[in-house]
Amino acid sequence: MSDTPFTRRRFLGTALGASGGLALAACGGGGGASTPAPAAAQKVTQAQIDEAMNKDTELTLWSWVPDLQNEVDLFEKKYPKVKVKLVNVGAGAVEYQKLRAAIKSGQGAPDVVQIEYQYIPSFTLTKDLLDISPYATPEVKSQYPDWVWSQVTNGEALYGVPQDTGPMGLLYRDDLLKAAGVEVPKTWPDFATAAEKYHAANPKSYLANLAPNDPGHFVSYLWQIGARPFSYDGTKTVKVDLASEDAKKVAQFWSDLVAKGVVSVDADFNTAWYQGFSNGKYGAWPAAAWGPVFLQGSAKSTSGKWRATDLPQWDASKPASGNWGGSTDAVLKISKNPIPAAQLALFINTDQESALKLATEQFLFPPSTNVLKDPKFADQASPFYGGQKVNAKFAEIGATVTPDFAWLPFMDFVYSNFNDTLGKAIADKTDLVAGLQKWQDGVAGYAKAQGFTLA
């Protein structure tokens, strides 16, 4: 509620699913979702699943994905005995607050709930999520890239079914860049030069905006360069490494641009920022895969002038990207119907028809390669982007997102603290590296006060 705007959350959706059951070996390395890896959860037989799916059952699903009822209808058609009550209790932080309250009181919690990747650990910390690996067939894992899978697993345990993701690319105004005589930057040093040249040619416009209220956006830059600022072992030990050399490099890079005044520092996802896209205040937007559709909705008047390309690179020979946003459907441990609940989470996101619907009708960027490859998705040409096949471009970028980016079990605090530390330095146009250090200190201090051991 406080820091992440509602409008964006609507676009961070869900994505994939299949059914069946077998514990899956997850890719190693401290995954995103963490909890003490439990002894391999017991396999569930197909007979047990069939039995459960043919019993009259009522499930509750919390999600803020618009029109998710369409996918729920498909599920109910396939399993007529299972009735699903779909409730939108709010997006992101608002939902988590209600979820925590419901779990604590032991009443009114849903069976299946939408959770963003970075918040999974805060619910595995409290042991509220069900390990659904026994219900997921090997086909489920095989359709996700490693980096996505590592976001929802810890060891063998699977804590959510990926619904959508946000690999980072660059959206830019072809007309404005050409008018300013600026080439599309391929690397970050190019980007810095381009930003200066662009702003000199077009003093009322900026090549990019560095939002002082958007930790998720900044973290995606850290992800791309290879910084791994967070990790959590699932019990008591966390790593907080926000001021690493790589992270400092990112902060210094933006610090220089901010000091020169060639990038703007406007808060994002508010009215002024949306208007900035319509009237040419921003020449480009380093954006996630959900960005193209989002932009289309908020800057209609600029249709046809935008293009999508790769995020500028630190090392052009090794293309890399980060992720910004996206969410999963998870099953709560207190659900009285774990089998149908897990089937629902899986079905919505991995049934081909349902997952394709999410991608082509609700415009959630799909993590599943089955959907990414589907011509109905990949071959869509977008007039807003001059007829470019934007989906295919972002699918390509998605393959370059680096794996093993983990989170802390208290990202609410980490993100809120950003506004008071690094975000403040951005807004005040002071030294971002010092701001980064303050963020590090704030988060490490909180971790200690909450009883965690710092690795």
Partner: protein, 315 residues
């Protein structure tokens, strides 16, 4: 009240002149009175006293994400009184109080006197016009003003652009408190005006006639008769304003969307308590902060009341 008294009289008349029946009827009356206030007390107990007691109880514990709950005595309170985030927040609402309340009450009083003087045309329309902002929910008001303050596309910024003047940075750190003061003034001037205006209407008009006969001018009547007569109403509005100032929450919370860095998560004590409870998941400490804030408000409200009572006794 009047009806009740009359009933007592009637009952007294019809019953024998002994003391006993009177007492019975009185008892019945008391019982009825308690019955009437009972619904209030049930809700008051369930929604105020019990949660308050629970929060107070909670404030003596510490809960960690790892390690669970433990009794910690006054640790949360000692932490709060040395917590710069809390103290800065208190200082900020203190400043807010000193600047905002006098402006607001002076304007409310001025408008009330103007309307009461009978010299304003379309008085009903004007009165409604000044009052309407109070009918706008605070959330809507804050969003609306957030738009007006917008640094790029807000009407004020556009006007400055048009005139070639420097923009007023409404949402920058040094200015945003005053922008909030402006919003709160806009919202509450009408409300306080109505309270004062109602008090003015209840002053017997023969006082004015007497003053006029003695040759007093309208301003003199306002100063020497009207303002002293509405003192109790003014004191009431001061106390409401003290409480309101310290509880400042909606406006900064909503303007944060526009100015996330000028308004930090501990901008006001209430905002801090909210952040602690719902973002930091430290509801025990939040309970302690809320309790301390409550104590500060009680002490200040009492001080206001006491100081005005003394003046009244002295005069």
């Amino acid at each position: 009240m009047a009806t009740a008294t009359r009933t007592v009289e009637t009952l007294t008349k019809t019953s024998p002149p002994t003391r006993k029946p009177l007492t019975v009827s009185k008892k019945r009356q008391y019982r009825a009175a308690y019955l009437f206030v009972l619904p209030f007390f049930i809700i008051f107990l369930a929604m105020v006293i019990v949660p308050l007691g629970y929060a107070g109880y909670q404030s003596f514990f510490t809960q960690q994400l790892v390690g669970g709950v433990s009794f910690s005595g006054f640790a949360n309170y000692t932490r709060a009184v040395t917590d710069p985030a809390f103290l800065y927040g208190l200082g900020r609402v203190g400043l807010f109080l000193i600047v905002q309340v006098p402006i607001m009450l002076a304007l409310s009083l001025f408008f009330a006197l103007a309307l009461d003087s009978g010299m304003v045309r379309l008085a009903k329309v004007v009165r409604l016009g000044i009052y309407i902002p109070y009918a706008v929910p605070a959330v809507v008001a804050a969003l609306m003003w957030g738009y007006l303050y917008g640094p790029d596309f807000g009407p004020f910024a556009q006007l400055s652009d048009y005139l070639g003047a420097a923009k007023i940075p409404f949402l920058e750190p040094g200015y945003v408190l005053f922008s909030i003061i402006n919003i709160v003034n806009w919202e509450f001037i009408g409300y306080n005006m109505i309270i004062i205006y109602a008090a003015l209407r209840s002053i017997p008009t023969d006082l004015y006639e007497a003053a006029r006969v003695d040759g007093a001018s309208e301003p003199r009547i306002a100063w020497s008769i009207k303002i002293p007569a509405v003192r109790p109403a003014l004191i009431l509005t001061v106390i409401f304003s003290v409480i309101g100032s310290f509880q400042l929450f909606n406006e900064p919370q909503l303007l944060r969307i526009m100015a996330p860095n000028a308004i930090n998560s501990s901008y006001t004590p209430n905002l801090y308590a909210y952040t602690l409870a719902f973002v930091n998941q430290d509801s025990n400490y939040a309970a302690a902060i809320a309790f301390l804030l409550g104590i500060v408000i009680m002490v200040l409200s009492y001080a206001v009341q006491l100081s005005t009572q003394r003046k009244e006794n002295a005069s």
